[in-house]
Amino acid sequence: MKKRKRLDHQLIFKLIKPGSRVLDLGCGKGELLARLAAEKKISGQAVERNPARVADAIRAGVAVYQKDLDCGLPEFKKDSFDYAILEMTLQQLERPLAALEETLRVSRFTIVSFPNFNYRGVVGKLVETGRMPVTPALPYSWHNTPNIHLFTLYDFLDWAEQRGVTVVAGYASAAGSPFRPLNLPLDSSEAEELLFVITLPGSGQPQSTGADA
């Protein structure tokens, strides 16, 4: 899981333009924001609900605000940030769509990554064993998983279309390989983890957010 997190970090690190304002939601230990601040001179704010992780992030030198994302982000004004990051967090929220609405409001671009439940490695395990799949991207048992809202690539794209959200870019990764541009429809079952950059039409200037990778 840790190695995969870093792959995620690498892509997000590339996507974010130097000097921008970044909101990292569910920041964990704050490594990504610390690196972005050090190497890309971004101004960052992290949000995390677990006090132990908040302490880690403070020790990492990140400005971190302890808060449960399911309570919304009313303290942040519209378009306060260039990017909001929801890294492997959405599936853990009580109200994932409310959180997406908030990130779309407070930032121009939302960078969201999540495990794809339609990944063949997940579905295959479920069918073969008849039990909830435990995989590198979903490393929990049914009773202790924080992932309470699992969904798939098409679930996400359906929501984006219904909501009128523009998908600026999409990336996929599987079995620990680096993220690469999304390849539809193949990635519906080939992608283990997905990452999207989304925005609302008219939310600031369209800018190239394609990875230089």
Binding site: G44, A60, G61, V64, F76
Partner: protein
């Protein structure tokens, strides 16, 4: 008696003795006159006060660039003696200082949160207190040098900061690396950040908020009434007679209840009797919690001035970070330039976590980054002193990051 009822002592690690590697060792308090007739200190109440003396202590060394100074801000009953052992306790008639080091000794010293190998710490006694800085006990030049008593002007948190700014200038420090404090000290740190944004680079605010709630105001009011109603109070003119010890003791007992939590009291004392398992059928000092509070009250009157308690608790009442912005905390926080670290403790009901969070929310709404954490603790408001182990690494990392930035 070795103070068996003191929850603070039980929780605290053994003191670092003066020769311990992590102690700042023997310390001498310093005094400086920062306002005189030619340059009096303007107060919020409209009075210009002079002379004004400030007692302060310093630990560590000021760097040649003068960029490593941290002002530590004490709470209601605190003093300038934040760390180490007072060499001059006998000269200044402060025998209680033989028993223990400064009030934040766990946090200040070589290798501690406020690492004196890296940072230069300054702690000054606040205006109106009774530990060397001018207060109601000081000679009133307009009354033939008799103590001010209740003729001392009503002071505010903002007045305290105005005086600390003079100390900053006296020490020749253009910008402080940080200001830091808990409780009333945290409110001073917030006042620094809002009123003097360019004079500090960061502020560390523990167990404090933008204003005391109505419940807190109510407790302070009862504390003051206890002092007013003491037969020895004599409208504050007691310096040549018996002091209103009973009233001050009662005020301190009441204050102590607000510093603890229901859980910590239950855990420490429960319903245990002072003498064995059976009631003695008497009205005084029957339960352990009673004896504890009495002990706290009695030891307090030996080291504190009742008039100072009146003035400092009133300043605590008055402080409202948003008062200059029509109650709009976000507008007040728009002035802030410093990096902020806000820490609350889950069982604190004097300055509850929601009230500290409200400051963080206002700062974020003003478009400024903030660090805010709720540390799980059962110790109530006192957690900011007692949870040193959990708090220290956060403060240390935050300071080091500020020093690099």
């Amino acid at each position: 008696m070795t103070d068996p009822l003191n929850v603070c002592l039980e929780k605290r690690a053994p003191h670092d003795l003066p020769d311990a590697p992590r102690s700042v060792g023997w310390i001498s308090p310093k005094r400086v006159v920062l306002a005189d007739q030619a340059n009096p200190l303007p107060l919020d109440c409209g009075i210009e006060l002079a002379p004004v003396t400030v007692e302060y202590e310093t630990y560590g060394r000021l760097s040649p660039a003068k960029d490593n100074a941290v002002f530590v801000l004490h709470a209601l009953s605190g003093d300038a003696h934040a760390a180490g052992w007072d060499r001059d306790w006998a000269r200044d008639n402060r025998p209680w200082r033989q028993e223990r080091p400064g009030w934040w000794d766990e946090m200040i010293g070589p290798g501690k949160a406020f690492d004196t190998d890296s940072f230069y710490l300054v702690c000054a006694n606040i205006l109106g207190s009774c530990y060397g800085t001018t207060g109601p006990w000081s000679p009133n030049p307009e009354n033939e040098g008799r103590p001010y008593g209740l003729d001392f002007p009503v002071v505010t948190v903002e007045d305290w900061i105005r005086l600390q700014v003079r100390l900053q200038d006296y020490l020749g420090i253009e910008q402080l690396l940080a200001v830091a404090g808990g409780s009333l000290g945290g409110q001073q740190a917030l006042a620094w950040a809002i009123n003097y944004p360019d004079r500090i680079r960061s502020a560390i605010i523990l167990a404090a908020s933008a204003r005391l709630g109505a419940q807190g105001l109510a407790f302070n009011a009862v504390g003051r009434q206890a002092i007013f109603n003491d037969p020895c109070f004599n409208r504050g003119n007691y310096y040549n007679s018996e002091a209103p010890a009973g009233g001050l003791e009662l005020a301190r007992m009441l204050g102590h209840i607000t510093y603890l939590s229901a859980d910590s009291m239950e855990g420490k004392f429960g319903r245990r009797y002072q003498n064995g398992k059976r009631p003695c059928y008497r009205l005084e000092d029957e339960f352990m919690v009673e004896s504890y509070l009495s002990h706290q009250g009695r030891s307090f009157v030996n080291r504190f001035d009742a008039n100072s308690y009146l003035y400092l608790s009133r300043a605590m009442d008055y402080y409202d970070a948003a008062s200059n912005n029509g109650g709009d905390l976000e507008a007040a926080c728009a002035a802030i330039r410093a990096d902020l670290l806000l820490i609350s403790y889950t069982s604190d009901w004097l300055y509850p976590p929601e009230s500290t969070r409200a400051v963080a929310e206002a700062v974020l709404a003003a478009g400024h980054p903030v660090s805010y954490i709720e540390i799980p603790s059962t110790y109530g408001h006192d957690a900011f002193l007692l949870e040193a182990e959990k708090t220290a690494p956060l403060i240390n990392s935050f300071l080091r990051r500020g020093a690099q930035g």
